[in-house]
């Protein structure tokens, strides 16, 4: 274990000698370790190893000098070789020296939602680096760009440092730094008042991230249950609904996509590699290395497209037409998995009937993809089926008919027989770790979510944008949302139409923000609670689904900086003030985690050493040949035709509906991700403001020529509704995009000057999306029906 714990430091156990001897950079070292007795305190008594130069007198181990400068080429004529020895010189060249004390603590990443497990290292008590955990199924020992840079968040000098309360001073509103007691006391008092005036149901929570767990418990204990995350209706909700309607299950996160084993991978607008969903990126790379056929549908020559044998530069907003044409070819040419379809699906005949007209020739003028290309790619998919994965994507709120598009993807996969099959969608397994027991939550008298479900029948999760809209414009005057608790979610950037979000905040009695950075939303809060980063705290156990069940823990690697606190501490203290102690019967996170871990035969002590633990498999990852499967749909089958959708007045089989076209001189605005950034969260990171300081507007050279735009020139965007971007954006003139659209990475153009590095860098795509197409099935907010033109004057 100790040898292992030091591997990442460049230390390796020697087989010979005392077993405590290590070789380090060619010098022999001994590792001495103080006894580590539980309980582990924060930042101290972690497993640690002290590296010391090996005793000079011990000759039992071979010794050699570090680096000898040899004679080099003609240099041999100059001087005798020099020996590069450890000393001040080497200390300036290499990061670790004999004698350095290196510790590591297990964690899982919070820079994005993939939650890769890793180790946070310190050197001589100072934060050093974070690297992946070899056993982790999310990262396989390799964190992504953002995960590797986790210290950028920790080191951000703009971090919130102390609790803040909004006060009036000289007629102007400002934040006052207050003590934790004062801040939490303020919240407790105001929530009590809210309970009395509007009822506890009037509290709504917005969240993103694992630290929210205890806040959610508090909200429920308080008597509310509206807990929304933009990750549903602003991101992957349509996919969830589309697959749920078809298979009775969602694809989950991390996705159950068996990319590693796929022989044909189809990506529709999914830019894996630019979105750095670690496990998927690694699996796609393995697949590419094996020669997997990759088909990419994207108006942009994405990174994935550059790796694909078939890139279909589709006209934006016409994906459904292409999908229907593919389905048409597969059905017309009898290429579908007959046994699978017969055994597991319903509605084949109705599907055949519905897509009869949707030939590749029909799709050609719509999509601009040539019929023979559509046929060829459809045949390829069938050739490799069932190891053909038509990827469901992740951020899929595009045009307002996104659930139907996801349905089409789900149906195509069903025809190929890929759901539950190797190389398609595997059957995921999650560790079941029983919750820490607490009293039952009070039942709310009403919930804002009731209105959402009435409006959007397949809103499988609360719709954050709808919660916002209901705050602004209550559907029932007796049932108003009067308080928000916003945890780690910068709603100004994540919800469309930010001016509506700001207007909604104005109607609140209380607005609480819990955040690490002074993100824009915190500027609208009455009270701001500064949370410490994931590297400075315990969090709940990670039990995400995978091919086998696995648990991972997050433990503090460093003391919280400034006067920041973990959410668990805040919530426990606040619950005490609110008389809700019973819901938090644990003393601290150590006890909470240890109790839960004991339920699955582990312990916090063990997990401090392991970081990640794989539990026994619960069964096969694929359907067995001939296996009878009952799906969680009304028919118990995979629903190619959805009766429940027909009953609710929706198209039971996806249909292509044309979307608005850009007016003359306007271009459809597309958004995406960069491997350097997670939303708007990382655009202030000291590391990433260096590597990617701003976003760029991708413009086809033809368009640039029409407008006389030069590469690297700053322009402002103006959209079809006359909205002009607050900040200018740099142009990138590139062949990598169609001439009818422009593209930019989301998350830039911070407007809060407290974010010193991110302020005014690049432009914000969200503010340009004044037109939002709502998905009637689940309330998703499609943002890709916005068109922009360029303003070059006065930029």
């Amino acid at each position: 274990m100790w040898g292992n714990s030091c591997q990442g430091l460049g230390v390796e156990a020697l087989q010979s000698g005392s077993g405590n001897a290590f070789k380090w950079a060619g010098r022999d070292l001994i590792i001495s370790r103080p006894e580590c007795a539980p309980p582990f305190g924060i930042g101290e008594a972690f497993p640690e190893c002290t590296i010391q130069p090996y005793l000079e007198t011990d000759m039992s181990v071979n010794r050699r000098e570090f680096i000898k400068i040899g004679a080099l080429g003609l240099g041999s004529m100059s001087l005798a070789p020099k020996v590069f020895e450890w000393g001040p010189s080497a200390a300036k060249t290499f990061p670790v020296q004999p004698g350095d004390v290196v510790t590591r603590a297990p964690t899982y990443c919070e820079i994005c939602f993939w939650k890769c497990a890793g180790w946070a290292y310190t050197k001589n008590g100072r934060p050093w680096k974070i690297i992946g955990h070899d056993e982790d199924l999310h990262s396989h020992g390799r964190l992504c760009t953002r995960g590797s840079s986790g210290l950028g968040l920790y080191n951000d000098p703009d971090r919130l440092q102390r609790p803040l309360i909004r006060v009036e001073k000289d007629g102007r509103q400002t934040f006052k730094e207050v003590s934790w007691d004062e801040a939490l006391g303020f919240i407790a008092e105001r929530l009590q008042a809210l309970k009395e005036t509007h009822g506890p149901e009037s509290l709504a929570m917005f969240s993103h991230g694992n630290g929210a767990v205890h806040w959610k418990t508090l909200v429920k204990a308080f008597g509310a249950n509206c807990i929304a995350a933009p990750s549903f209706a602003q991101c992957r909700g349509p996919r969830a609904a589309g697959f749920y309607l078809t298979y009775g299950e969602t694809v989950g996160s991390p996705e159950r996509t068996d990319i590693e084993n796929s022989r044909c991978l189809v990506l529709i607008g999914s830019h894996i590699g630019e979105n750095l969903h670690n496990g998927q990126v690694q699996e796609m790379s393995k697949a590419l290395d094996r020669g997997t056929e990759v088909i990419v549908v994207d108006p942009r020559f994405s990174v994935a497209a550059s790796k694909a044998r078939h890139w279909l530069p589709i006209k934006p907003a016409t994906d459904v037409a292409l999908l229907l044409a593919w389905i048409n070819v597969i059905l017309e040419e009898d290429l579908y998995d007959r046994d699978y379809v017969a055994r597991y699906t319903v509605g084949l005949d109705k599907l055949k009937e519905a897509v009869r007209e949707n030939t590749p020739e029909w799709a050609y003028p719509i999509t601009s993809i040539q019929p023979e290309v559509i046929r060829e790619t459809a045949r390829l998919m069938a050739l490799h089926a069932p190891a053909t994965l038509v990827h469901p994507g992740r951020h899929v709120t595009w045009y307002g008919d996104d659930t139907q598009r996801s349905r089409a993807i789900a149906i195509l996969n069903a025809l190929l027989g890929s759901w539950g099959r190797k190389g398609g969608f595997y059957l995921p397994q999650s560790a079941h770790v029983p919750a820490y027991p607490h009293p039952p939550f009070p039942k709310p008298a009403w919930s804002p979510c009731d209105f959402t479900r009435a409006l959007y029948p397949w809103a499988l999760s609360p719709v954050a944008s709808h919660v916002r809209d209901m705050t602004l414009d209550p559907p029932d005057p007796e049932k108003q949302i009067k308080a928000w608790l916003v945890y780690g979610s910068n709603l100004i950037y994540s919800l469309p139409q930010p001016e509506k979000t700001i207007a909604a905040v104005q109607k609140l009695d209380l607005m609480i923000a819990v955040d690490i950075l002074p993100s824009e939303i915190t500027g609208w809060a009455d009270v701001v609670l500064p949370e410490c980063t994931y590297l400075e705290r315990y969090d709940d156990i990670r039990t995400s689904p995978g091919r086998v069940p696995q648990i991972a823990v997050r433990t503090p690697a460093f003391e919280p900086a400034y006067d920041t606190k973990p959410s668990a501490w805040m919530v426990k203290k606040l619950a005490g003030m609110m008389g809700l102690d019973d819901y938090f019967p644990w003393a601290d996170m150590e006890e909470y985690l240890d109790h839960r871990l004991q339920q699955v035969g582990s312990s916090l002590e063990e997990m401090h050493e392991l970081g990640v633990k794989t539990l026994p498999s619960l069964g096969p990852n694929y359907f067995q040949p001939g296996e009878e499967v009952t799906f969680n749909t009304p028919s118990g089958k995979i629903e190619l035709y959805s009766q429940q959708m027909a009953d609710a007045g929706f198209d039971p089989i996806p249909r292509y509906t044309p979307h608005a076209e850009p007016p003359d001189g306007f271009y459809r605005l597309l958004q995406g991700r960069s491997p350097f950034h997670t939303f708007s969260r990382t655009t202030n990171s000291p590391i990433f403001t260096e590597l990617m300081p701003e976003n760029e507007l991708w413009i086809n050279p033809q368009v640039a020529a029409d407008w006389g735009l030069k590469a690297g020139q700053y322009v402002k965007m103006q959209n079809q509704d006359g909205k002009t971007s607050q900040f200018p954006i740099r142009t990138r003139i590139t062949e990598r995009i169609r001439p009818d659209c422009v593209y930019m990475v989301h998350g830039f153009g911070h407007s809060d000057p407290r974010l010193k590095r991110g302020f005014g860098r690049g432009a914000d795509d969200n503010e340009m999306c004044t037109t939002v197409k709502i998905d009637p099935l689940m309330g998703g907010t499609g943002r890709r029906s916005n068109f922009v033109t360029f303003i070059t004057e006065g930029v």
Binding site: M77, S78, L79
Partner: protein, 314 residues
């Protein structure tokens, strides 16, 4: 084709274009060349007359260690790790022109001092008297006895120094605009021309004045010829060299080169000198001042141009 660094590597003085060497190096190269020119011309004057004589060329020898010292100080200013300057003299790296240069400089300094000591009785009687008072007559006698040897050595060292200032840059294969062996001779000729201009300026003897003016006209003409050769070689070279040549044929430094380096720095002074030789009246300092200015501009130009050219276009 679109090729660029996506991670915005902005290493100071490397990105977006190399700017590691600025005015300090240009000034050093100019003063080094001027030192070489003065040393060679002074030593040649000694050799020609077979004795020390109060010619301007010989009188100016007294400035060589000073000029070189200022140049070296300028170079010292460029070092990023100044306390390690002694490291130049704890080794000799045969592959490194800079190492050769530091040792050449180390030799030029004492040899030039000895040459001054050997000539000062004629050229700077005041200095000689001062040295005598300081008990340095032995040094003067020592040098006077070996004056011809010292002069020959000085010419050799002067040539080495002059060429070295060019080779220093031309040895960098990584910078196509520098990477031409002709740069050494060009810098030598340019240094000589600067030296001749200074002699011409300082000369109180009309014959000597006209002689050095004529010499300078020849040197500048030769320098123009060499620069022409350099550009022809570059423009007809492989791709990277052609790209380097483009810098002055339509590229970023076209105006800089043709207007400042060629017209103001070379053609204008040579024309002034020719007019002067033909008897057109003009202030005595004008032509030499332009020659010296031209030499300085040329060093600035070369230092910048080399750093703008690379093997890799990003």
């Amino acid at each position: 084709m679109e090729e660029f660094i996506t991670t915005h590597r902005m290493n100071p003085d490397i990105d977006p274009v190399l700017t590691i060497w600025r005015w300090q190096v240009s000034v050093y190269l100019f003063l080094g060349g001027l030192t070489a020119g003065l040393l060679i011309l002074g030593a040649l004057s000694v050799l020609q007359r077979r004795k020390a004589a109060p010619t301007a060329a010989q009188r100016l020898l007294v400035w060589t260690p000073v000029v070189l010292g200022v140049g070296l100080f300028s170079l010292f200013l460029d070092l990023e790790h100044k306390i390690h300057v002694y490291r130049f003299y704890t080794t000799f790296r045969v592959t490194s022109p800079m190492s050769w240069g530091s040792w050449i400089l180390l030799l030029v300094m004492p040899v030039s001092v000895l040459l001054i000591a050997g000539t000062m009785r004629e050229t700077w009687p005041g200095l000689y008297a001062w040295a005598e008072r300081k008990g340095l007559r032995g040094l003067a006698t020592f040098s006077e006895k070996r004056l011809m040897g010292l002069a020959r050595l000085s010419v050799a060292l002067g040539v080495a120094l002059g060429i070295y200032t060019g080779i220093l840059l031309s040895a960098y294969g990584a910078r196509p605009f520098w990477n031409t062996a002709i740069l050494g001779p060009i810098f030598l000729v340019s240094g000589l021309s600067s030296g001749a201009a200074l002699v011409q300026w300082m000369s109180r003897d009309e014959r000597e004045h006209r002689l050095y003016t004529r010499i300078d006209v020849g040197l500048i003409a030769f320098e123009l010829f060499l620069i022409g050769l350099m550009l022809i070689g570059m423009a007809s070279g492989p791709e990277r060299q052609q790209a380097a040549a483009h810098l002055v044929f339509g590229g970023e430094l076209t105006t800089y080169f043709w207007v400042f380096v060629v017209m103001i720095g070379l053609l204008l002074p040579v024309l002034l000198e020719v007019f002067h030789l033909k008897g057109r009246p003009q202030p005595r300092f004008i032509a030499p001042a332009f020659v010296l200015l031209g030499g300085l501009i040329f060093r600035f130009f070369i230092v910048e141009a080399g750093q703008l050219t690379t093997w890799i276009g990003y």
